[in-house]
């Protein structure tokens, strides 16, 4: 039990900032982001204490946080939830788009000031904000993001590409 707690404390130290940052990017409310980050760690800690199996902790934490964020949207913003649902329904169209120009888009966005890029990112629909934050701020691969959001690597790549395009449009109308 002591080992488990030590491992979990190490995980807390390693991931608290990035999970909080991710929650803050999605919720735009610092206090709620703190509360959800804490609740995320609490739920995973409870699960671990009960002997639940966790193969990879970081994606597990992100998945838990993701559920909490979705619950939060559901509770507070029914309109946004519909918008989110529409985004996901749109994935068949996304899958048809070629994901090949990402490098060019990344280079274009890299030329903008970080403050402007971050402000623009926060204006994107949540599904894009989630994918782009995980990819370009936390540095996760499309495959790792796929595990968190429960979708295929290809679907994630397409969403990232599409999000980059939207981000560039916002930065360079």
């Amino acid at each position: 039990m002591r080992d488990l707690q030590q491992d979990f404390e190490r995980a807390f130290e390693a991931y608290n900032d990035e999970l909080f940052r991710h929650a803050a990017m999605r919720l735009k409310d610092r206090d709620r982001a703190i509360e959800l980050t804490q609740e995320c760690f609490m739920k995973v800690w409870e699960y671990a204490q009960k002997g639940g199996e966790i193969r990879e902790l970081r994606p597990f934490l992100y998945r838990t946080l993701r559920h909490l964020i979705i619950d939060e949207y559901r509770r507070k913003k029914p309109v946004s939830l519909e918008a989110m649902a529409e985004e996901f329904e749109d994935k068949n169209v996304e899958a048809l788009l070629p994901p090949d120009q990402s490098n060019t888009l990344e280079r274009a966005i890299e030329r903008f000031d970080g403050v402007a890029a971050l402000a623009a990112l926060q204006k994107l629909p949540d599904a894009y904000r989630e994918a782009l934050s995980l990819r370009y701020i936390e540095g996760l691969s499309p495959q790792e993001i796929g595990k968190i959001v429960g979708e295929s690597e290809n679907a994630v790549s397409v969403r990232i590409h599409r999000g980059l395009k939207k981000l560039k449009e916002l930065l360079q109308p």
Binding site: A24, M42, E46, L118
Partner: protein, 346 residues
């Protein structure tokens, strides 16, 4: 692959060390490892913490979700008593030094004003809720003040830091409350917001405006506290104090910038430019403070850092309200014209 510009900016969004400590305490039922100073009441606090640890195990086992959900509760909500009597009591109990206890009481006093804001924004700040909130506000503010006084000699840096952050946040939040009350169509909310705001602003001797003028930007209570510390002749102690405040000011400034970024989509171009200028002025104060500290003038350094902390805490509070209530909260509070620059100064 990362976008370096985006990543660099986003990494400024972090938890403060106080927030991390509170989270660690809630999760593991122990004080933060960074708090190394032994308590003079070690035996008592050790036993007490064991009791608290047992209690926290209970919280983790079943009531964790209730406790976490209570965090956002407002007076009149079912979970509000859990927030006041459980969450906050645990926070106070786990603060082991007078300085950390003062900090917790300061945060709780400020929390009451923010709760009043939330009720005012919903047009339901009734007289009963106002009475409860102002009594609890007075209680925490007094505890914070007493504890700050008790450490003023031994730890002047923390004393100035806590007073400055609290009073600056209260000055801003009092003004936000008044502004929200003014906009309310509910007469009772309007009256109660005004009454509570006056009480809060009087507590810190503030005018309820954030001005560009240096002296006017600081609530009177902060200026008094700072002068008390500066009147001390012990240069080395002030040097330590200045460094403590420098770190705190940098942390609060980063928080304010993060709020600025989050609020950016709700701000018009003029307000954005005005706020950018305010941030520029704070950066300047921080630079001045570092130069003074390097030159060995710790009093000048302390003055610059304290002012930077005060302005940052005010901006952070107002921007936080702007994000929450998404109205034109900022405009009536920001005063940039020269002819208003003397208001609020002593």
């Amino acid at each position: 692959m990362t976008l370096h510009n985006l990543k660099h900016e986003a990494e400024k969004i972090r938890l403060t060390s106080a927030e991390k400590s509170a989270m660690r305490a809630a999760l593991f039922g122990a004080a933060s490892p960074v708090q190394t100073a032994p308590s003079p009441y070690f035996f008592f606090s050790y036993q007490f913490r064991m009791v608290m640890a047992g209690f926290l195990v209970f919280v983790l086992a079943g009531a964790g979700t209730v406790s976490a959900a209570a965090g956002g509760a407002l007076p009149g909500d079912l979970l509000y008593p859990v927030k006041i009597n459980v969450n906050e009591s645990v926070k106070i109990a786990l603060a082991s030094t007078p300085a950390s206890r003062a900090q917790v009481h300061a945060e709780l006093a400020d929390a009451r004003v923010e709760e009043a804001q939330a009720l005012a924004a919903q047009g339901r700040l009734d007289t009963a809720a106002t009475a409860k909130l102002s009594d609890n506000f007075d209680e925490h503010a007094k505890h914070a003040q007493d504890l700050v006084q008790s450490i003023a000699e031994s730890d002047p840096g923390s004393a100035v830091e806590i007073t400055t952050e609290l009073d600056s946040a209260l000055a801003a939040n009092g003004a936000v409350l008044r502004s929200l009350g003014d906009k309310s169509t509910d007469k009772e909310t309007k009256n109660n917001s005004g009454r509570f705001a006056v009480r809060v602003l009087a507590h810190v001797g503030a005018t309820g405006r954030i001005t560009a003028a240096q002296e006017a930007s600081m609530p009177k209570a902060v200026a008094v506290q700072m002068m008390t510390v500066l009147s001390s002749d012990d240069r080395s102690e002030n040097g330590n104090g200045a460094s403590t405040i420098e770190a705190k000011a940098a942390q609060v400034l980063a928080g304010a910038r993060a709020q600025f970024m989050q609020a950016s989509s709700t701000l018009d171009a003029t307000t954005t430019a005005q706020l950018s200028a305010q941030f520029g002025a704070i950066d300047m104060l921080m630079a001045q403070g570092s130069v003074s500290l390097g030159a060995g003038d710790s009093k000048a350094a302390m003055r610059s850092f304290t002012e930077a902390l005060s302005k940052s805490a005010q901006l952070r509070a107002v921007l936080k309200a702007q994000i929450k209530y998404d109205g034109d909260i900022l405009k009536p509070l920001l005063q940039f014209d020269d002819h208003t620059s003397n208001e609020g100064s002593d």
